[in-house]
Symmetry: C2
Subunit: 456 residues, 2 copies
Amino acid sequence: MPRRAAIIGGGPAGAGWAARFLLAGWDVALSDIPETLASAVFENARRALPSLSDVALPAEGQLSFHANAAAAVPGADWIQVTLPDGTAEAGQLLQAIQTACPPDAIVGLSNWVGQLSVLQDGAPHPGQVLSVRAFDPVYLLPLVEVLSGAANSSAVVDRAVGILSSMGMYPLPMRARRDGTVTDRLLKGLLRDVAQMIREEEATPAELHAAIQYGPLLDLLGTGLSDSNNFGSSESVFEHLLSQNAFATPHTSSPRSADQHRDETLVTLLRGLKARDAGAGKLLNAQDRRLDRLPLTLDAVGDLSQPVPTLHRAVPLDWTDYNGHMTEARYLHAFGEATDRLMALIGCDMAYVASGVSFFTAETHIRHLDEVRAGIRINITTQVLLGLGKKMHLFHRMYAGDRLLATGEHMLIHVSLTTRKACLPDDRVALPLTRLAQSHADLPWPEGAGRAVGRK
Amino acid sequence: MPRRAAIIGGGPAGAGWAARFLLAGWDVALSDIPETLASAVFENARRALPSLSDVALPAEGQLSFHANAAAAVPGADWIQVTLPDGTAEAGQLLQAIQTACPPDAIVGLSNWVGQLSVLQDGAPHPGQVLSVRAFDPVYLLPLVEVLSGAANSSAVVDRAVGILSSMGMYPLPMRARRDGTVTDRLLKGLLRDVAQMIREEEATPAELHAAIQYGPLLDLLGTGLSDSNNFGSSESVFEHLLSQNAFATPHTSSPRSADQHRDETLVTLLRGLKARDAGAGKLLNAQDRRLDRLPLTLDAVGDLSQPVPTLHRAVPLDWTDYNGHMTEARYLHAFGEATDRLMALIGCDMAYVASGVSFFTAETHIRHLDEVRAGIRINITTQVLLGLGKKMHLFHRMYAGDRLLATGEHMLIHVSLTTRKACLPDDRVALPLTRLAQSHADLPWPEGAGRAVGRK
């Protein structure tokens, strides 16, 4: 039987809570959130949250909108509520909710975090009321702080933790405190320092922006506080804790392999930012453009009678399996990069694609001939087997030095991006493609081309 | 002509600097760093730094070890030095360096950051001495703070910035200050708050660890300070700056698409951590194991006479191109996941692989039949065309609902992971594979199987 949550108010954060429950298969009743706002947030959540899973999420629950809290909460197992600012109004809403909902429903307060006991005092079932603070976007960030006071039994806290965990969140149960949650305090401390440096003109906003995005905070995400080497020695309490291994996490066997482990996580994060061209990734992309030495035009290629160099790079750490060998799919990833470069060489570049046409891969045949490890440089050369009409038939060879690692044979079709149907390329692509295909016409037919899987 | 750097002392951070220069093609002269330590750091840097590039790095420069600083610095364009703790000794080393190096060499001080002017005062060429602070691991984190004082010309700062930028680092030029760099101050502030909360028993180290790894700091990496919604309203100066758009970055057109942009970056970071099973990624992997509903054993499959379900998932945001369609290589990625699941079903699981044998893909044929967008659920079913001796011939069909998106035909060979040669599978795999292959023997031969690229 699906479980039921009611979300009362809270704007985008409330809608984010609703999305969390809905996509975890719960029925969700909403009030005091505009339907258009909720729909926009749900659409974003439906794009993003399932992306975090490599298996399918349960089917979505039922969604309903209600005129007020009292109408939304009957039958609810969990009620997440953002209270009004005034004490009297906040108390009244809580009263109305707990009068209409099941007596054992958990009521999570999104705001009023520092005043849990004040609100519990006037509530019909104070033991069921907790401060439950999540972070924006609620449907993606796992952390949720669960603050309880003297009125709450440990059974209620355990139940709340169990429900939040079941949705893939990371509940952090803590005692309620006047100054809000641990995370709020960390963020406020960071903000306070940022604001002070700006006020004292010691750093500009842009500089602080850079210090956060390009520096050691990157490391903290993978390692937490335990393993970072970037903290100074000025904090004696902290040093003492470090020396006692208070932050100890299960460690690999040697400092050397711990460093490698840290590097692999950093590389993965930085390459992720690179793929998004965000934060530090923007910088890395700019550096690639400076370092790129492969020809960008047919005229720059030189000898057109030979297969064209279309890729030259190292195998990055995040392309390898636990044995350190390049994974199957990354061979095709590299061949795809080579195809993109070949396309750019014949004039099918970003500007051409922006005009609404491109080549799509229809068929691929890969032969895996040898293995390669992270860090090794690989080269790809590309031979045009056919470049005629709507068709482009390519044969890539991937090498590490002289060693042939794999071949990739691809049939591409020129298509309209609007109709998704095949169409003839424009002359600015058709002519260079013909020129290259004719230059390659006398090359011997490659071994392995035109072959089916398992046939010689 | 290659340029030359000298690195004097500094332990792992010094060796990290040396690796940065070396892998950027500079010749590097070292002193006061043990050769074994340097070698270990270089080995890590050679694994990790080229991974950040999607093009090849320049050839490595020449490396040399020297007995002392005076022997290392002649001819150097850049000298990165970690000075001794005592003022007199630090001054003497700086004197020795600037006596032996070219007069226009830049001397970057890794430590003594708050006392730049003290050290400049006694130096032969004070204008060439800068505080240059990078972060561990120096060969991966881009940020480097370049602090200058009254003695430094802007030309020297510009030259330093140009050199650091050319290596792909992010130099942040600032005025020297007594309390160190902006980043040190941010980190110390964070530490101070962490230490205080622990001392006052308001949070345990493990809770703080979680708050950092699972919460809104994740968001800061992609957005910096500009776009995060997680800061409270308690800092009026900061609020004022925000209202003035002091942190403004080029924005997409609507709040809605800005949110989607933020989500895509967060998804990419979280999926990166997931691939590494680090930080918040560990949590996501645990959730996947809870949600997984596909059979894990042949007996759980039910009807063995039909192709076996081997994948059921949504297309994640980081699998798509700028048009929102799944990229070519991710079709093979998904087929690879399906192959892994099929292998697990016939007993070729992690424990079996740990015994030193596995199946390797020798050949692949993919037909791309239709497109699919992020967020759409895909299913793969797998038909065994052959399971005999060392060979396993698989045919995957990928669907979105009833729509056939692609087929993947794969020839796998059973190999010894020690010799990397073909060998017969153990009975615990051979018998289930035979059972499944026989159950599939009466299925019709799939359309498109056994076909070469471009042939009907």
